[in-house]
Symmetry: C2
Subunit: 433 residues, 2 copies
């Protein structure tokens, strides 16, 4: 089966927005073994849309379209599909009543909202097309067979498109290809492992699955974390879950303490959750991360349940004055040292009255500092049972080093709270006071 992508929108051609929908669809289709051979973007023009559909159907079995289904005059995908098929548009009674209902529901509280006349265009379909339900917006999708091929048109809003693709389009594509039509993903999120270590740990499993073809495993690394995505195709969800279960077990065993959660988890959310479970609180002392660690923790709504606050001790004197780090220690070992990280952690724990104090110091670059190389990171973690430190040498430029430092510090807390082994990325520090 050959599938092609076709996106509609002047804003894509002018570069006002990036075609992230194409990347998302490419990944989804690759996960189930459907190859996308070409991806095209055309502007808001009926003839251009219709011509592109005809060109694509000459060489592909499936055309997956995004964009151009809104209510305004420059939303022309409906007209383009009709022109490509040589048919007219018809107003669909069911879609029209859905539209009325949705506007009435939205109007609750302000006396009911009338449907603007322009919006009725969203109830139009090319003759012979079927609507695809939209769970989250007003624009229905379109499914239209033209010759031996099929065109699916979805809204350009990523959130709406993703839901419609997963619920309606992908199952239909797989059924047409005579393949099991239910697709289930399982995501394992890892921290404290480089992507290469994740891939190496799962190499045997990936090889074994490559011979079978289903499920598949994909790796997605970003911001110092790696996601492992297992994708199974089956006739129903129960069968897909049965296919995934042994692969997930094998992956969890191979990755060990590296796995911190699933698709909807974040490392900072998991850390805050572990703290709340233990009725414990956290405070941070930051030098190399300069506020980013606190910023990441407070990204989570409700962080205040476990996060007390932090001290960004960027100037060396602030490490002494605001955190109580011994001035003799700073003079002897410098601001970038394992013992300084330990003292910062103990200092912020005591000053902010938290169960745990977490500290970062290091060299983000671009210049070395105190003769210590760019990428040096020392983490300190002080708690009721004493203080531990970890050290690591991080790769990359200044923003990447700072992001890795945030992840490494959060991961140290996670592993300590959950009683897991240390990350293999870090070495145990030598300077706990």
């Amino acid at each position: 089966m050959r599938a092609e992508l076709l996106a509609v929108g002047d804003e894509l051609l002018y570069g006002d927005i990036v075609n992230g929908n194409a990347a998302w669809l490419g990944r989804q289709l690759a996960d189930v073994g459907v190859t996308v051979t070409t991806s095209t973007v055309v502007g808001d023009d009926i003839d251009m849309i219709a011509t592109a559909i005809r060109v694509v159907l000459d060489r592909a079995d499936v055309v997956i379209m995004t964009g151009g289904l809104g209510p305004t005059q420059d939303d022309l995908t409906r007209e383009g599909i009709a022109a490509a098929a040589g048919v007219g548009l018809r107003r669909d009674d069911f879609l029209e009543s859905m539209l009325r209902r949705r506007f009435r529901d939205m109007g609750r509280g302000d006396g009911g909202r009338r449907v603007p006349q322009m919006n009725y265009r969203q109830a139009d379909l090319p003759e012979g097309a079927q609507p695809l339900p939209n769970g989250t917006g007003t624009a229905p999708g379109i499914r239209m067979e033209i010759g031996t091929g099929v065109v699916y048109a979805m809204p350009g809003v990523p959130f709406e498109m993703n839901g419609m693709f997963t619920a309606s389009v992908l199952p239909d594509i797989l059924r047409r290809a005579g393949q099991p039509a239910v697709v289930v993903h399982r995501v394992l999120r890892t921290a404290g492992m480089w992507e290469s270590a994740v891939a190496e740990a799962l190499a045997d499993e990936v090889d074994r699955l490559a011979r079978i073809g289903n499920p598949r495993i994909a790796f997605l690394a970003s911001g110092g974390q790696t996601r492992v995505r297992i994708t199974a195709r089956a006739r129903d969800r129960a069968e897909a879950e049965m296919l995934i279960a042994p692969v997930e077990t094998a992956a969890r065993t191979a990755l060990g303490a590296g796995v911190y959660g699933g698709a909807d988890d974040s490392l900072e959310g998991v850390v805050l959750g572990l703290l709340v479970q233990r009725s414990a609180t956290l405070a941070v002392a930051e030098s190399i991360t300069g506020g980013l660690l606190a910023g990441r923790l407070t990204d989570v709504p409700g962080a205040s349940a476990a996060f007390r606050g932090g001290i960004v001790s960027y100037a060396t004197e602030v490490k002494a004055s605001a955190l109580g780090v011994d001035e003799g220690l700073l003079a002897a070992e410098g601001a970038v040292s394992s013992r300084t990280a330990a003292a910062m952690a103990a200092g912020v724990r005591s000053r902010l009255g938290a169960t745990y104090g977490l500290a970062t110091t290091g060299v983000a670059g671009p210049q070395p500092q105190e003769d210590k190389p760019v990428g040096t990171l020392h983490i300190g973690l002080a708690g009721p049972d004493g203080t531990v430190t970890r050290s690591v040498r991080l790769p990359g430029d200044r923003p990447r080093i700072r992001t890795y430092a945030v992840v490494s510090a959060l991961d140290l807390v996670r592993r300590m709270l959950a009683g897991l082994p240390n990350s293999e990325m870090t070495t145990t520090g030598d300077g706990a006071p």
Copy 2:
């Protein structure tokens, strides 16, 4: 003139990377009035590349290609262009010697590097093509006339592609269109103005220029800041500068204190520069921004010249214990108030020994807090001459509100240090102690 974009790479079709090159090229071409009518992505396959080039040349005058020029076997753009033109490849002596020289230069210090055999492919050109110089990488670009059209092929690495497009491709496209071939951009960065206010301030100038067609003005809003980009086409740089000068003057006059810098500036860098000029230092106290304000300031290498550090007072008690905010004030007005912002600013200024103390408190959501609505922001700024406060109601979700809050706080410092009028977004607070 009709121009189309054609990107080559399986990694784009699989969604491993997003086609950001297409967006960048679309913006550059729109700036000079060249319309991109279609953008296509094909995989690493000679026949697919050749067919796509022929299809595109049937309807467009110019094909701008990216990707597939590397040294490995799956880099097939050279072969694809040759196949589309019905010619063979020839090894170019000049490119071969350039390649040898570049590898020799890279080898300095480790005894000289030999050119791997595979890399000589980068010295191949389709018969009749001209190489395009690459200032920053090993892969030269290709310019090839086929029939009445022209194909430009550039590397997929954005940094290399951007340089080659600006230096060689765009001037050649404009010359072919009989247009002045030098393009000069001038960027004005603004803060403390919503995008709609920026657009409104420049509406007359945009209208006037639309009638002339050159220069053009574009707006790019992101993260609470708006860039204004003025683009002029001319026969040479001096003429382009003469075209830009009055538009820049008009824009600066209309935007007033909103303009903080040019293309290479950042708001945090400008604030730190103003502090250094005045031999002043800054410390921050953060509640709603939770570390992001300090994190933004420490993104700048060398921030320690003016940035002392910060206190993230997330828990209300920490506002009292670590910042010395009066407990009676916190009890009476709550943590989210103009007077609390002022007290936080004064507290961090004194505790961290800085010339200025800057504080944020507010409600990031998703839930209201202390009966104050989501989006509430109070900023305090304490200095040698006293304390000022500003308040604003910000739109958006939690991440957006926090980003806007960082920008609003930095912009308050910038305007105060530079002696500029207040932002129209904020209102003067009523609670300075």
